[in-house]
Each structure stands twice: as C-alpha cells, then as structure tokens.
C-alpha cells in the first residue's frame, strides 16, 4: 500500500484512475448486459417467429390475410398481441370450426409450442398485450375472494350469470361458462376482450383485482353443493321444472294410487 500511495501525487494518477474506472464500469456493464440479452434467445425468438409465420400462412391466412391484415370475414391481427393469440388458439376457439355465431371453446388444434410460435409471430407485427407470466398469476396468494365476487357481480355477472355458468347474448351469441377455464385464459380474456367481451384494461380492473376475480371464479368452481343438487345453477327455471315434474308428478302418482280401489 505504501508503494502505491507514493504515486498518489503523480501527474498521471488522475488520468490513470479515470481510465481504470471507465474500463471497470465498461467491462462490468458488458458482462452484465451480455447475461441479460442472451444472444441465442434472440435467435430462438426469430426462429419461433418464422415458425409461427409458417403456421399462420397454412392455418390462418385464408381468413386473416397473408400479412394478418384481416379481411371481410376476419379481423386484422396487427396489434392484438400475444395474449390474444394465446387465448384464442390455446382454448381451441381458433381456428374456427364453424363460422356461424362465435368461436366456441373446443380441443385446441395446435400444441403449446405451435401456439407460442403463432403468438410470437403475431406479437412481432405490432406491440400488444403480452401473455401474463406465471409469476403474475399467483391468484391464490394475491387475490381476495369476497372482493372478487363483488367485482364479478359488478362487471361479469350480467353476461356470465351469477355463478359464472354463462348466459345468452343477442342473435345466438353467448357468454360462455367460466367453469374449468385456466386462470391464464381468464386473465387473457380480461385484457384482450375476445368475441363480444369488452376489454377490462388495467385501469378499469387493476391486475390485483383481476387476480381476485380469478380467485372468486375458482372458488365458485369448487363451491360445494350446499343445498343439494344444483340443477345447473341457472336460477328458477330448472327449479320450476322440477317442482312440476318431480313434485306434482309424484303427488299425482300417489293420489292415483290412493284412490285405486283395492281388488
């Protein structure tokens, strides 16, 4: 140390330290940034985009156009984002099987990898909502069931029914049941607004509230049948049907039996 401190008044000491500091910072930055950037990922992503484009050209472009610009029967996909693709393709809604009213949930045509490729391709066209990360979706920890129920009744129940069983919209369109839907897809539906559904942006319903909603929907799904058979949880229509068929039907049957003369 003493040897080094001898040179601290040296003329070159200042510039030397400056150069040393710059080199140190530069090296640290380049090393650090190299670990974040991950050059091979960029390569994989562009490969995924290419693969996605190939799938798109084969499976989607006949309706959505060769450059996803949309057409007379299908909307433009520029700017819909990866979340939208993940929702529509991941739940089997796209590609559509029949063009009548609205895309319905079915067995997905593409596997997870192909769906990711498609999402990457569409996301590469223009920025849009991204697929929520698993770390974002920890609804069990971050959600509040009661608040979610209140939000659900305020924003969702008018179409999806009080227990998330789904309901009718105009001209044969419908709000599907929310039972058995993966949390990720619920989240994506909220931020992308598929079919007739409005977009619930993070300003309308904050990400934390979205998790509460998911938590409530999951609790509705796991809701035990407290009063006996639920008959679909769709209100008094099935109750009336049962009152007539089983209730009055049984009572009339017994009345007929009671008034039969003993032989």
């Amino acid at each position: 140390m003493k040897r080094l401190s001898r040179y601290r008044r040296h003329k070159a000491a200042g510039p030397f330290i400056l150069i040393f500091a710059l080199l140190a910072i530069g090296t640290t930055f380049s090393v650090a940034s190299a670990t974040v950037k991950q050059a091979p990922t960029t390569f994989a992503r562009s490969a995924a985009i290419d693969e996605g484009k190939q799938i798109f050209l084969k499976g989607c472009s006949s309706c959505h156009g060769l450059n996803a610009e949309g057409g007379s029967i299908a909307p433009s996909l520029i700017g819909v984002g990866a979340a939208s693709v993940d929702f529509q393709v991941g739940t089997g809604r796209m590609p559509m099987a029949d063009m009548s009213q609205q895309a319905m949930r079915k067995k997905p045509v593409y596997n997870a990898e192909q769906t990711a490729a498609l999402a990457a391709y569409v996301a590469s066209l223009a920025p849009g909502p991204a697929i929520p990360d698993d770390s974002v979706l920890n609804y069990e920890r971050d959600g509040n069931t009661a608040q979610g129920g209140e939000l659900f009744r305020n924003n969702c129940a008018m179409c999806h029914n009080f227990a998330g069983q789904g309901g009718a919209l105009t001209q044969g369109k419908y709000a599907p049941t929310l039972m058995g839907v993966e949390p990720k897809y619920i989240y994506e539906a909220l931020i992308t607004g598929p079919q007739s559904m409005p977009v619930f942006s993070d300003k309308t319903i904050t990400p934390a509230e979205k998790l509460s909603l998911i938590k409530w929907i999951k609790s509705a799904e796991a809701e035990p049948n407290l009063g006996g058979a639920t008959m679909g949880r769709i209100g008094p229509v099935t109750e009336g049907l049962l009152a007539w068929i089983l209730g009055i039907g049984l009572l009339i049957g017994i009345a007929v039996w009671l008034t039969t003369r003993a032989r």
């Binding site: 009661a146 009744r153 049948n225 407290l226 009063g227 009055i248 009339i252």
Partner: protein, 528 residues
C-alpha cells in the same frame, strides 16, 4: 264397557250436554266424499299451505326484515367482509348457522312452488270437468282470488332475502307499477317509501308476506273449503250417481285415513325435494345492489309467463302531455293479465250465458263432451306456455344453442297463432273421442281376434262393453243451441241485436257435438 270406553263416553256426554255437538259431529262424520285422484289436488294445495305456515313461522324466528347495512362476518367465506342488508345477512345465517335452517328454507320455497303448481292443477281439473257451474260459481271466484294472492305472496316471499335476484325482481315490479299511467309513480313511491330501492320495502313486504296476505289466505281458504263441505263435492257420472246424491266413502274411517295420510305424503315429497335439490341458493347470488344484475334472471315459474310476456313485447311508447306511457310494459304486465284473470273469474257466468243453462250441476262433465270449453282451456294453456317459454328464453338459448332473438320472434308470432290452432285441434279431438265413444257403444270393443268367414272375408270380433261403461258413455246431456230469434212474437225487431247475434253464434258453436247413441239405437242393437 271397559273403563276406558266409559271415561270417553262420560267426557263426550259432558261436552254434548253443554254444546249439543253430537248431532253436528254425527252428520259431519257421515259426510261422504267421492273418490277420484283429481279430487285430491285441492288437498295438495291445502297441505302445502299448512307446510308453508309451519316452515314460514320457523324462518321468522331468525329472519331480520331490515335494510340496515351490516358487514357480513359469518361462516360463508366468499361473502365475508361485504356490506349487505341485515335481511340478506340473516338469510345467510339461517342457511349456514341455524341448525336445520337451510332445510327449512328449502322446504318453505319448494312448498311454495308445489303450492302454486297444485293450485294450477286443481284449477284445471275444476275447469275441464265443469265443476265451476252453478251453484259453485262463487267458490270458483274464490279460487281465482287464491291463485292471484298466491302469485303476490310468492313474489313477496322470494323478494324478502334481498339477494341479487330478488332485488332484480323488485326492480321489475317497481317498473311495472310505474307503467300505470299517471298514478304509477305515486304508487311506486308510496310502496317503496321513495325512489327505488329505498329503505322501506323489506319491512313492508315482510308484514304483507307473513301477516296480511296469509291472514287473507286463511280466511279465503276456510270459506273455500266450507263451501265445498256445504255444497257437497261434485262427482263424476256413473251408475247410481245422480245430481241428488254423492257416492263415495264416509269421512270416517276410510276418507279420513286417506286424507290424513296424504298430508304426510305431501310433506314427505316436499321434504324429499328439499333434502336433495337446492332451491334459491341466495349465497351464490350475492347481496342486492341496484347497479348489479345477473344473466338469466328469472322469477319463480308462476311469474315466468308474465316475465315472458314482458320480454316479447315490442318497444312501444307514447308521450303525451308531459307523460310517458310505456305500452311495452303496460300491455303485457297489466292489461293482458287483467283480461286473463277477469275472464277466468267471470267464465262460469259467461258459459251459462252462452248455454242458457241456469240449472244446478253436481255431476261433472267428461272434458270431451264439452268440446268448446275443453278447447278454450287448452287454448289458454297454450297461451301461457308460449309466454312461459319466452320467460326462459335466455336459458333456452344458452342450453340448446339457439338464438334468443329467434325464440322471441317465435313467441311473438306463436302467442297469437298457436292458441287458435290449439283450440281447433282440441275441439276436433274432442269430437273424434265422442265418435269413438259412439262406436264403442254401437259396436262394442275391439278384441283383436280376426275371423275368416267361409267366403274368405275377414272380420274382427267385437265384444259388447260392460253395463257401467255403457252407462257412462251415454249418460251425459247434449243440450241444443239456444233458439234466439231476432224478432219477438209480434214480428218486431228485438233490441240488442248484436248481443243476440253473438250469443246465438257462441251457443251454436258450444252445442256442436257428435249425437250420442239414442235409446232407439240401443234397442235396435239388442235385437241384432
């Protein structure tokens, strides 16, 4: 005499010497009731009403009829910490924390559904068999009154828990009241104690639901049953049954045993339903807030047809002198039901005006023998069914992948077209059944045995029907149409020409029937 018998005899004698009840009891116990399954539908109504009274009383012990805000802190996790009315919170407590509370709630609600269904079934039986004819017109009107009261009582009942669905129902109720021209707004303000939802309606509806309407119910049911007792029960035609007698079992022991047992059967069926099937799961609906609504909000079934009528009505409104008249609510929710209920109540008098029949009737009609009435009944059922289907249009649309708009248009057209078609078809069916009866009398019943005659012809062997059956098939009357001429005996035109014409046309239509087998024809057959 054993000591027990002696004691009973002494007590009975003590009472009789002071009240003179022996004569009345003896007369009453020998009262005879005819036996037919359809005569027990009224009993189902009465027994489910008793069950409603008992289970309802149980519920009042815990129900808090108040709209005061509370924070729910009970056992049901998904609603914990929410602001709600005390009425809703106490209903949750009844469901989850009171022992047997949920079962009692479900018994009360299922009993209400069965009660209304039994009333309708009972009404249809009385209508189709002509049991409403003189002297029972007054009892028929009381029956219609009970039906109407039941509708209102049911509506108030499912409005009390103050959940999202019941609040939605009340919102529609207030809209229907407001659709009354001029006075509607005032009545609505009076009823709800201000603008909807206000804070007054739960306590008010509570008083109506548990005190006033049940009180009226009890009074009217008592008169209804006493009139049946006093006027005696009607009976189906048959050998030995006339307008002057009643054939059946005396009240003791057989009838009493059957009827008493039947109470427990009704209770058993309702308790069974309540134990296995959920009804009105209010904890799923959440507390009522005017800003919220659920898809597929439906009333209970007996209000469903009114809801269906409102749902199908086109958007008609007029504005005059600063008032808006909402025809789209006024017509389906007030005018049409008004016509339906008034028409029903007056029907006994309308029919007697058409037929000119002012005699007493204690023997029932077989529905086929009065084609016009039967057809009118089926026509009314068709009307209500179309409306009821449209009341559940959203549920039908989602579950059967239909378009709600198409169901609405089907109902709009169907409500006008289908009832007349049902009328014509039913009338033709009745006449065909009459023709079949006639064939049965004249040619006997088919045995299915074929005979080949020596010359090769095949014939089916017919067997004559039993004497009882033969009697049944030809015992009914076939009154001729009214002879109403436009001029009086001196050839002067009578006043009320149009009324006369209408009465004559209706009477002619009412008297259409296949001529029944005459004595002459029967004798000829015997000679064969």
């Amino acid at each position: 005499m054993t000591p027990v018998e002696k004691t009973i005899g002494n007590v009975a004698n003590f009472v009789d010497e002071r009240l003179g009840a022996a004569g009345w009891v003896k007369k009453s116990l020998n009262k005879v009731f005819p036996d037919h399954w359809s005569f027990m539908l009224g009993e189902v109504c009465m027994y489910s009403f008793v069950i409603l009274l008992l289970s309802g009383t149980f519920l009042t012990f815990w129900f808090d009829p108040s709209q005061r805000d509370v924070i729910y802190n009970g056992v049901y996790e998904p609603l914990k910490g929410l602001k709600m009315s005390a009425a809703y919170a106490s209903t949750l407590d009844i469901s989850f924390e009171v022992r047997g509370g949920l079962l009692m709630r479900q018994i009360h609600h299922w009993a209400a559904n069965i009660f209304m269904a039994a009333i309708v079934a009972h009404l249809l039986r009385v209508f189709f068999t002509g049991a409403f004819r003189k002297p029972r017109e007054f009892n028929w009107i009381l029956g219609i009154l009970l039906l109407t009261l039941g509708l209102v009582e049911g509506l108030f009942g499912y409005s009390l828990p103050d959940d999202l669905l019941s609040g939605t129902g009340l919102r529609i109720t207030s809209a229907i009241i407001q659709a009354l021209p001029i006075v509607g707004t005032y009545i609505s303000f009076f009823l709800f104690g201000g603008a909807f939802p206000g804070t007054g309606f739960i306590p008010r509806i509570f008083t109506l639901h548990i005190l006033i309407i049940p009180g009226i119910f009890l009074a009217v049911i008592t008169i209804h049953v006493m009139l049946v007792w006093y006027q005696k029960h009607t009976q189906f035609p048959g050998v030995g049954r006339t307008e002057k007698n009643v054939v059946g079992h005396p009240i003791l022991p057989v009838y009493m045993a059957k009827a008493g047992g039947f109470f427990f059967v009704v209770f058993g069926v309702i308790a069974f339903l309540s134990a296995v099937a959920s009804i009105n799961p209010i904890w799923l609906y959440g507390p009522y807030t005017p800003g919220q609504i659920s898809a597929g909000s439906q009333p209970d079934w007996y209000m469903g047809w009114l809801d269906g009528l409102v749902r199908m009505s086109p958007p008609l409104e007029t504005h005059a002198f600063g008032h808006t008249i909402s025809w789209n609510i006024l017509i389906p929710a007030l005018i049409v039901p008004g016509i339906v209920f008034t028409g029903m109540a007056l029907y006994p008098f309308i029919e007697s005006w058409i037929t000119g029949d002012k005699r007493e009737h204690h023997l029932l009609d077989r529905p086929r023998n009065v084609p016009n009435r039967t057809a009118l009944g089926v026509m009314s059922i068709t009307f209500v069914m179309v409306a009821l289907i449209n009341g559940g249009n959203d549920i039908l649309a989602t579950n059967f992948h239909l378009s709600i708009n198409q169901i609405m248009w089907f109902s709009r057209i169907g409500i006008l077209v289908l009832p007349p078609i049902a009328f014509v078809i039913t009338k033709r069916l009745c006449l065909s059944l009459q023709r079949a009866d006639r064939d049965l009398l004249l040619h006997g019943s088919e045995t299915g045995r074929l005979l080949r005659l020596p010359h090769g012809e095949f014939v089916e062997v017919h067997e004559p029907i039993s004497a009882e059956k033969a009697f049944l098939l030809q015992s009914h009357e076939q009154p001729a149409a009214l002879e109403l001429s436009d001029v009086d005996s001196r050839g002067v035109r009578r006043p009320g020409g149009i009324k006369n014409k209408v009465q004559r046309r209706l009477s002619k239509a009412h008297a259409v029937s296949v001529p029944k087998v005459s004595e002459q024809e029967l004798k000829e057959i015997e000679h064969h």
